[in-house]
């Protein structure tokens, strides 16, 4: 069925959809709707896969990735490995509107965000720390390392490279709540 306007998003994140629609209905642009819709998911920590307090890395830190794209002007703003800033999609929009670049990453992206007025906050929660603690207790499983020693399928690091490349990425059981 072809009807405009339209909001469509991955996964059953209803509040994000409703927020985007509400933004459009109140006169916002398509870009505003995307930003507000995704930001709502960041606030609600949708599925544990969006926003603060989820998916801790090997060091137990939560980092965020986000991107926004204007299909009229082909402008893009993106952030990767963003630390200590909750509103990742907002920072992505700031990259698009406040710089001539497209993609900022890591600590420098966080400094940019702070300079643009985004609050600096700890992204860890008791939940993310529990996930991290359980992972450590489970000998750091699952694990994304390969061709290193000690054997990353059995042991935590620190790791050093093998002289030979032997292992290839193997199929892992999926968790539909763990996704990019």
């Amino acid at each position: 069925s072809a009807v405009l306007p339209l909001v469509i998003n991955t996964w059953p994140f209803q509040d994000a959809t409703a927020t985007a629609w509400s933004t459009l209905s109140s006169g916002g642009s398509a870009l505003d709707a995307v930003e507000k819709g995704c930001a709502q998911c960041e606030i609600l920590q949708c599925d544990g896969s969006v926003g603060y307090g989820g998916s801790p890395d090997e060091m137990g830190e939560t980092t965020l990735d986000a991107m926004i794209m204007n299909g009229d002007t082909m402008e893009v703003g993106a952030v990767g490995d963003l630390r200590r800033i909750k509103n990742a999609i907002g920072v992505a929009r700031a990259v698009m509107e406040r710089t001539k670049h497209t993609f900022l990453v890591g600590e420098s992206a966080s400094v940019f965000a702070e300079n643009m007025g985004f609050p600096v906050e700890d992204l860890s929660t008791n939940h993310s720390l529990d996930i991290f603690t359980k992972w450590l207790k489970d000998s750091c499983q699952p694990n994304y390392r390969q061709n290193v020693s000690p054997d990353p399928s059995k042991s935590c690091g620190p790791y050093k490279p093998h002289t030979m490349l032997q292992q290839r990425r193997r199929h892992q059981l999926i968790d539909i709540h763990a996704h990019d």
């Binding site: 998003n9 090997e58 965020l64 986000a66 996704h179």
Partner: protein
């Protein structure tokens, strides 16, 4: 991860993504979500797409860009989505991934790669016909 496409009354398309990525990732790892053409893509002359799943695999195939280019060529959104999934499946039959697609007239669709424990992909749609957010499901291929 959320990936979202919004098309306003005038047919202007915007897309976005936000995620905290993969659990237990190596510090510094970035997935497909913030990469234009991979996590999402928008072009007001064709449509928009947003992908989700295993970003380490999906980012190599620019599935959102591929789907939008398919729609530019006149392919309907469900078929464009399936083409993007099938392209990845040829190389990685067991990859975890899904995609939503919409063209500038407001037609939309979705596709996903069928795996044990993942046979349907849920996504949300809101348009004037529904007037509320509606959860839809697509069978994976």
């Amino acid at each position: 991860t959320i990936g979202m496409i919004v098309i306003n009354q005038a047919g202007q398309v915007a897309a976005g993504t936000s995620t905290n990525g993969a659990s237990h990732k190596i510090p510094g790892r970035v997935g497909d979500s913030p990469i234009a053409g991979a996590g999402a893509y928008a072009d007001s002359t064709a449509g928009g797409a947003a992908a989700t799943g295993d970003g380490d695999i999906m980012m190599r195939f620019l599935p959102s860009y591929l789907a939008v280019e398919q729609m530019r060529a006149g392919v309907d959104p469900p078929t464009a989505c399936r083409t993007a999934i099938t392209r990845i499946k040829k190389h990685f039959p067991h990859f975890f991934g899904a995609i939503v697609c919409a063209n500038t007239t407001g037609s939309y669709g979705a596709a996903c790669n069928k795996l044990p424990g993942f046979s349907q992909f849920p996504f949300m749609v809101f348009n004037q016909k529904s007037n509320v957010p509606v959860k839809e499901m697509v069978d994976c291929v």
